[in-house]
Amino acid sequence: MTYVVWIPFLPLIASIITLLFGRWYIQKRAHWLPCIAVFGSFLLAMKTLIAVIHGARASFDLYSWIIADTFKVGVGFQVDPLSAMMMAMVTCLSFLIHVYSIGYMEDDPGYYRFFAYISLFTFSMLMLVSGNNFLQLFFGWEAVGLCSYLLIGFWYQKKSAADAAKKAFIVNRFGDFGFALGVFLVFLTFGTVYYQPVFEHVHEVAHETIRLFGHDVLLVTLMAVLLFCGSLGKSAQFPLHVWLPDAMEGPTPVSALIHAATMVTAGVFLVCRCHEIFELSNVAMAVVAAAGTFTCFMAATIAPTQFDIKRVIAYSTLSQLGYMFMACGVGAFAAGMFHLFTHAYFKALLFLGAGSVMHAMHHAPDPTDMRYMGGLKKYMPETFWTFLIASLSISGVPGLAGFFSKDEILWSAFASVYPWGKLVWFVGTLVAGLTAFYSFRVVFMTFFGEFRGREVLHGHEPHESPKVMTIPLMILAVGAVVTGWLGVPSALGGSNHFAHFMEPVLGHPHFHLSPALEEHEHLVELLLMGVSTVVGLLGIYIAYVVYCQRPELQRLLPEKCPKLYRYLYRKWYWDEIYLYSIIKPTLFLARGVIQGVLDSACIEGTVNGIPDLIRRGGEGLRKLQNGVVNTYALIMATGAAVVLLLIYLF
């Protein structure tokens, strides 16, 4: 199975060559090498996936990275259903988005830089998912963070982009701090950071406690919660969610690949990878479920108030990531991974569709503002149809990918043994309606009605994007439909191949239904599906009424409840809360105390004081050198007299 090594390393090689020679030699041909490399990775990943389906497993070290006494860790690869599926998905999406970028990034001065970074990202993400130890996971984790920073700030001349990049990086620092502590704790407990021995021995320490601030805390709880901190940051869950909407400053293909389909799902991947640890601690599971549920609901309430097409989709990403954590929080890890898998396709498609719309609107001062769009259906039919499929899929319309994965999560939550399962199910169903509403709000505002952007386009007509952009859209549209068919539940006569495939790694969710319901298990499942489908369709219908039939209803909320509307429009004021509770005090501490007192007074005082002392001393001594020969003679005579006197006296 050693060919697995080439899956991450092909994009790395392409990235290095493009970065080194791109500026002067490759220039406009910069897309060839990364595209071919990622396509090669994709073929290898498919080969691996097929081998894994036929039962192949592997875990091997390529290279001894660090050997220090008992601490040994290597650059290693683990091939199992989870990593094989992630590798296949990442390479597939990455390839399609590479191709799309050829059209989207055309004529950008940083063309070669873009392809070098996005290839480097692909490498990092593949290292993250394919590692066989926590340290390599951490390496990939930080490397994708770096690429995300580089790509959000890709247009670094724009202040907002540079700020957003910094914000993403710094907010992630908080999460990664916890994650690093978690990895330390794993090493401290087990003496190794390799997955296999850790997960084998974790049951032995299930009841060990550790004293923390005077309380006895279960060791596994602490470990799981610390690891989950990393997930909170990377997957942008409350309270570390604030960076993701701002990350939309980056180029749209980046938003699609990194901030929707792959990198932000790394947190879910981490929880699934470590599910043995999480499952041992009810507290940790509750934390996961609470973070997911809260974010899911919060983001779904913010999305309908935003006018920036990319921000709406970004909040939708937050919300969908919340769904995945909800699934993890009720023990249905396979359902979470399934939603991750389907979400990657339809969300990437939504973003690329939005990118295509922006491409058409690029003469407008703000090409993302939906208030200047409308009626684009007839100008760009291919974008419209693919975008519509993605929206139907995310809204959970039966038969499409989002329907199967979302309903699996809702059913797992409802049937879960965990006491918070019913609450999760309720919020999830509610959010399903909100999701459908805001997704179709985007569709109706962008593609239906009259075109509202004539005056801002200055006579340019919107146009369909080139083939190199629309063909990836069509392929993704196929993905947004058929990926769900891999996990058709038994209630609908399917056999849920996806869950069976993942079972060796992720296990079963634990169900517990009251006996009366258990008899009619399939019936209950079908009923729940019906409920969430009806809620979703209702959301679509409301969006149709508000944004197509009776536009005057749009003013209802802002006029009737201006306070609530403002609260939602300003994103629950999280940015402001953080500004006053964290950023301002930190800046005060940094500028007032550290810089003002410690730096200016102590360090600069010492550094500047010593030369100052020497200079002043010199000034004083200078007065002696008055240039009058008589003075010198006097001083000399006095000196000689003093010396003689001393000799005489002693």
Binding site: R622, K623, L624, Q625, N626, G627, V628, V629, N630, A633, L634, A637
Partner: protein, 100 residues
């Protein structure tokens, strides 16, 4: 015979006069003269001690010193003349070129 200590006292008085003059006076000619006085004060003590210790090497040394001092005085006076020609000034406190 006059005791050596008297010579030494004379030498001391002369040296003190020369040193005081060199420090206190501003005229460069007088300062040069004061230097000569100090030099000769030392010569006196050298000769006196040479006599007292019965070592003729001291006398030879003194002759040598007088000869060299003559040359040195000539150079010193020549410099003073040049300085005066250039600046019309003989007061040494007016020259502060080496002021720090």
């Amino acid at each position: 015979m006059i005791p050596i200590s008297w010579y030494l006292v004379l030498s001391l008085v002369l040296f003190a006069l020369g040193a005081f003059g060199f420090i206190a006076r501003r005229n460069v000619i007088i300062m040069l003269m004061c230097i000569e006085i100090m030099l000769n004060a030392v010569n006196i003590s050298l000769v006196a001690l040479g006599r007292g210790l019965e070592d003729t090497a001291a006398h030879l040394l003194v002759f040598f010193v007088i000869a060299v001092a003559a040359g040195e005085a000539a150079i010193g006076l020549a410099l003073v003349v040049l300085l005066f020609k250039k600046t019309r000034e003989v007061h040494m406190d007016e020259f502060r070129l080496l002021k720090g």
